[in-house]
């Protein structure tokens, strides 16, 4: 914590220094309160520290090294007892007195990656960028052998119709190599069954983009955050969820629990309150036929969650999120069945 900000801190290059300055390096009690500074000259201890840092951090299982001015000791953080033994053996070999060294076990420090960062391979739920807009990647799909991802139809340069929208992940300014190009986004049509008078309709707000050559993706995987319960809005990525398959329903059960993961509100969850509803899209002449509405008392959707994968309690892919109310307590998604009816059969797992 703050004490460490005054220390010389060295961590392996692959680790995140910012994270190292936080709780993982905090001892259970202030070292200065129970350890008397060594009698060695600080310059001598610093030389030992330099040697230990250079040699010690090359050993497997080491986490960090720092020189603690308050106790005048070199501190080496290790993941486990075996690494501690290796560090102590190294100290003996280098002539570093045991009294000038503290070896402390601690959690390894990892990169913190969020849903808004560059994520490789690409998985559902992470941020995508096109033009002046951000959305969420829905899910990976193979269509006729073509590696692709599905997102919302309105997450293209023009909603309905293919105009070759180019996508970046997470931002063009972060990674200038585009990940994919829009290849499918059927037109919205008037006078189809169930379409309100004067409106243009589809049964799904979904489009498909083909991955560019060299872009890796993980079929059947959607982002998993570090949240242990839904609706906590953590965006920190902690692996992925394996989809159990695709849910073939277009009508979900009222009260059924539904999940989504997206770049703005992370993993959220609510209950189905309407199924196969025709929904007018605010601010447009578009209506979407046979959509599912999910609600909660707390926020479950936010700006940028469009395109998010929606899934059931058994991790079956249920559809693509496209909208919500202004307070974010209501989300609307297009069932996967409707998506496949319009985009064609998709291999999602």
């Amino acid at each position: 914590m703050s004490r460490l900000s005054t220390l010389r801190l060295i961590v392996p290059a692959a680790l995140v220094v910012a994270a190292a300055c936080q709780d993982a390096t905090t001892p259970t009690a202030p070292v200065a309160a129970r350890v008397t500074p060594t009698a060695y000259a600080p310059q001598q201890v610093q030389r030992w520290f330099d040697t230990m840092a250079r040699e010690g951090l090359a050993l497997p299982g080491t986490v960090l090294a720092d020189y603690d001015e308050t106790t005048n000791r070199a501190v080496v953080g290790v993941e486990h007892a075996a690494a501690a033994a290796s560090v102590r053996a190294l100290a003996v070999r280098l002539g570093v007195p045991a009294a000038a060294l503290v070896v402390r076990e601690m959690e390894p420090i990892r990169f913190v990656t969020t849903l808004r960062d560059r994520v490789v391979p690409r998985i559902g739920g992470i941020q995508i960028h096109f033009g002046n807009f951000l959305c969420s990647m829905g899910f990976n799909a193979v269509d006729g052998g073509q590696a692709s991802f599905v997102t919302a139809s309105h997450c293209t340069n023009r909603q309905g119709g293919v105009e070759g929208t180019v996508y970046y992940q997470p931002l063009q300014s972060v990674d200038g190599v585009s990940i994919g190009t829009e290849v499918e986004d059927p037109d919205y049509q008037r006078n189809i069954a169930g379409c309100p008078h004067g409106k243009k309709c589809r049964h799904s707000d979904a489009s498909r983009a083909a991955y560019n050559p060299g872009i890796t993706s993980a079929l059947g995987q959607i982002a998993k955050t570090d949240a242990t319960s839904p609706n906590t809005y953590s965006l920190v990525l902690n692996g992925s969820i394996s989809l159990s398959g695709g849910d073939s329903r277009d009508r979900f059960t009222i009260g059924e629990t539904i999940n989504k993961v997206g770049r703005t509100t992370g993993w959220t969850q609510g209950q189905v309150t309407a199924t196969c509803a025709t929904v007018n899209v605010s601010g447009s002449n578009v209506s979407l036929i046979c959509q599912t509405i999910v609600e909660n008392a707390v926020q479950i959707v936010g700006a940028g969650d469009s395109g998010s994968p929606v899934y059931t309690s058994s991790n079956a892919l249920a559809g693509v999120l496209w909208g919500g109310n202004s307070s974010g307590t209501l989300l609307v998604f297009s069932p996967l069945k409707n998506v496949q009816d319009e985009l064609g059969p998709l291999q999602v797992k």
Partner: protein, 144 residues
Amino acid sequence: MRGGHPAAFSTLLLIAGPPVPAADVSPLEFTISVPARGRVGASVSIVLRLHNRSDRPIEAHFLGRTIVFDIVAAREDGSVAWRRLGAKAAPSILQIRTLAPDETLEWRDAWRPREPGRYRLQGVLPSDEPDPRRTPWVDVTVTP
């Protein structure tokens, strides 16, 4: 952030005409302009403005391909008399827009009050922040 429950603003003075600035030091100033008085059944014009008062470009995030804005009219007891968006479903797309120095974005709508009384109005701009950008509340007295 600014805002809060309308009941917390019971001591606000009536404000007419000039925009009410936000009570923070953000380079983006979000204000609402409404007349201090209205009549039942007559439109009350409402103007929201987002102004970059700094000397540098500022990137802002908004909900919607066409920027979505909300307006809330609350009674003195805090209950909502009118909400522009209500429960309408809008696409959850995030728009990135850079405001040049001194640039102002403006949104307009009107509210037609149905009952006399004292009301408080607030503008809201949803984004990807946990709390949307809000104007201060302003008072409007509606007479029969």
